[in-house]
């Protein structure tokens, strides 16, 4: 952002001040994620940069905490990771199916009571999590689903569907409905039309909604804290207990893995968004 030559000094100063503020905010946003990386390779037990690390001494770095994460007997990270993935995958599937079907109905212009139904469908996103947690716990306790995987999956479907509904309705808002009519006039039945025509076109929106649902489930701790028993422990629960008791470097190793995972998710979400914009651009 070069300034024109004729810029007055006071605006010049203001401009550099503005750039400085922005730089500070960007560092504030991203830097915390990067402290975790080096410290997770610490050879010592303390969560500070040792002298050796500052001098880049190779002996000061080790994979010790990653080994502890995988093989450590005290740390149930393996079970937690397994549970987290199982729960997140099923919750995502459920959210995507329910949410996409609902979004199809919602974006029909014949839909009655659109406003109030939309408000109901996205309410789990609006209501503070702690309240959702209490309400969902009451239901699961009554249905005998507390401390079961099924209960947690259902809870995460509740929390995940609003994201799918929102992204898919947004995708459908740019959708040209004459293609489905064309398919119908060529003799295709509605299910076939959906699978062959509509779904491929709205797929980027569906998948990015699914990513939101996956991350919501994978990262969710408030509701799980109410619902989970010892057998249903997840990565966020383990991190929560770990952080409360004592910050160990093993947690940082786990955190590093999670950052890598979220980077992958970010990349796929961005690619999908661009693809979706391109597809919708063609339709217009």
């Amino acid at each position: 952002m070069a300034l024109p030559k004729y810029t007055e000094t006071r605006y010049r100063i203001w401009h550099y001040f503005y750039i400085a503020i922005c730089t500070f905010v960007f560092i504030f946003l991203i830097a915390p994620l990067f402290v975790i990386f080096p410290l997770s390779f610490n050879a010592e037990e303390f969560l500070v940069f040792s002298e050796g690390m500052k001098n880049l001494d190779p002996d000061a770095f080790s994979l010790r905490w990653y080994k502890d994460m995988v093989y450590g007997t005290k740390n149930p990270w393996g079970l937690a990771a397994k549970n987290s993935f199982i729960i997140a995958i099923f919750a995502t599937l459920g959210s995507v199916i329910l949410g996409t079907v609902a979004a199809l109905g919602l974006s029909s212009r014949h839909m009655p009571f659109k406003g109030i139904i939309m408000a109901t469908l996205i309410s789990p996103m609006i209501v503070p999590l702690i309240i959702s947690g209490v309400a969902i716990f009451f239901f699961m306790a009554k249905a005998g689903l507390a401390a079961t995987h099924t209960g947690i999956v259902l809870a995460h479907i509740i929390l995940g569907t609003p994201f799918v509904v929102i992204t898919v309705t947004a995708t459908l808002s740019g959708f040209d409905h004459s293609v489905t009519r064309a398919a119908a006039s060529l003799g295709s039945n509605p299910v076939n039309t959906f699978m062959k025509v509509t779904l491929p076109l709205i797929l980027p929106g569906v998948i990015s909604g699914g990513l939101f649902a996956f991350v919501t489930s994978f990262d969710e701790v408030v509701v799980v804290l109410f619902l989970a028993g010892l057998e249903n422990t997840t990565i966020p629960i383990q991190m929560w207990t770990g952080l409360r008791e004592q910050l160990s470097p093993t947690i940082l190793a786990v955190a590093t893995c999670l950052i890598v995972l979220s980077t992958l998710i970010l990349i796929s979400a961005e690619l999908l968004r661009r693809r979706s914009e391109r597809l919708r651009g063609i339709n217009r």
Binding site: L98, A102, H110, L247, I259
Partner: protein, 420 residues
């Protein structure tokens, strides 16, 4: 047109109007059937349970069902002097049934909540009943009064009478540090026991300041992202999106490392000579930690809506403002800023509502001052198991959130919310 005009018929001979309506209705049903599975699922698993929270929070039927005869006979009692023989005898018969069902402990607990001291005297009465010491042919009133001197105190009988209605507002009053006194008047609890009001205020305060900080930090960078050329802004956008997609607990953990006394931030302050090495300030387990961590965690929720609004503002508007004689500041304030208000509204609403229900981060980095109302709800859900109190506080919080939505809808309009 006269009514004589022939109606337009379809090939089936049905008037077009009717046929069209039929088709429309079919479409309506079709659309509704698509939404129905999710709607039904949410109503059963989510909306009803929220309703159940309400009935739970005001429910006081347990004791009403425990002492049915007592409350019936108390209806005629004026509540000023000790009740009549009839009340005493019906209380005793209710109590005997409870002893048989082994529920007298529950009764004692509930009554003790209403007035301290019931535990002891109920236990004493229980022992007398168990040993069959009470002779039903004699005056029961006299005998019960002999069990313990508190049974002779009218205040305890008034307390029992107060528990008669099947519904109670006690939990809501408790959440505001108030209670109903002997004369059914709302009174405040003694000053040293007013904990909840502090928590409510602190929750609102934290949410408010975090929103302000997010706005102050988010506005400039959203503006920069929206005005920079694509290839730079895409790169910088990663700085916003990566934290957005990263686990909340990971980000909290990194703040715990950064802010600890031997942490990087303190190292940096020592390095630039801001503080002495042996006098490192405590930045975690207090409000500073809560504000810093929550602001960073919620900042993307402010930047994304702001960015999507700013992206649609044409740069030529600012140029036009300047060419019409406005200084850059005037052009910004009069042209650009008003156009970003929908984004500001959406961002602030999102951040405020997320912040007001937060509890993971404050609980980890906030220390004693990080206890917010959500922590209290979780505490009563998991530790004291006072679910009706947790429900009452949850609903009060929900009420607050709904009021904010309503205000927002009046001022800005919910349709202006954008998700990234």
């Amino acid at each position: 047109m006269s009514s004589e005009t022939k109606q337009i018929l379809t090939t089936d001979g049905i008037p077009l109007e009717i046929s069209l309506k039929k088709a429309e209705r079919k479409n309506k049903i079709k659309a509704f059937l698509l939404v129905a599975p999710l709607l039904l699922f949410l109503i059963i698993t989510y909306i009803f349970p929220i309703g159940e929270m309400f009935t739970r929070s005001i429910d006081d039927k347990m004791i009403t069902n425990m002492l049915p005869k007592t409350f019936k006979s108390m209806e005629t009692w004026d509540g000023k002097e000790l009740p009549s023989e009839e009340v005493f005898s019906s209380f005793l018969s209710d109590f005997k049934i409870l002893v048989e069902k082994k529920e007298h402990g529950k009764l004692a607990q509930r009554l003790n909540k209403e007035k301290n001291g019931f535990n002891t005297i109920t236990k004493k009465l229980f022992r007398q009943v168990k040993r069959n010491k009470i002779d039903e042919t004699q005056s029961i009133k006299e005998q019960i009064m002999k069990v313990h001197k508190r049974w002779r105190n009218v205040e305890y009988w008034q307390a029992i009478k107060r528990t008669a209605p099947p519904y109670t507002s006690a939990k809501y009053l408790k959440a505001m540090d108030m209670y109903l006194n002997e004369d059914n008047k709302i009174t405040q609890v003694s000053e040293d026991r007013r904990i909840h009001r502090i928590l409510w205020l602190r929750t609102v305060e934290v949410a408010f300041f975090v929103t302000v900080f997010c706005f102050l930090m988010g506005y400039p960078i959203a503006h920069l992202l929206a005005t920079l050329p694509m290839k730079y802004s895409n790169l910088l956008m990663i700085c916003v999106l990566l934290p957005f997609w990263t686990s909340l607990l990971v980000r909290t953990a990194s703040w715990m490392i950064l802010l600890q006394q031997q942490g990087v931030v303190n190292d940096f302050f020592v390095m630039i000579g801001l503080v002495a090495d042996d006098n490192r300030p405590e930045m975690m387990y207090n409000k500073v930690g809560t504000y810093v961590a929550m602001t960073q965690i919620l900042l993307p929720f402010m930047v994304l809506p702001l960015y999507s609004v700013m992206k649609t503002i044409s740069p030529s508007l600012m140029r036009a403002g300047k060419s019409l004689g406005g200084t850059p500041f005037v052009a910004f304030w009069k042209v650009y800023f008003p156009l970003t208000i929908p984004g500001i509204g959406a961002g602030c609403l999102l951040v405020f509502i997320l912040a007001i229900g937060y509890y993971i981060t404050p609980a980890l980095v906030g220390g004693a001052s990080g206890t917010l109302i959500s922590n209290q709800i979780a505490y009563h859900m998991k530790t004291t198991l006072d679910w009706s109190f947790a429900s009452a506080m949850g609903l009060m919080l929900l009420g607050g959130v709904l009021v904010i939505y309503w205000l927002y809808n009046k001022l800005v309009g919910v349709d202006n919310i954008k998700l990234g």
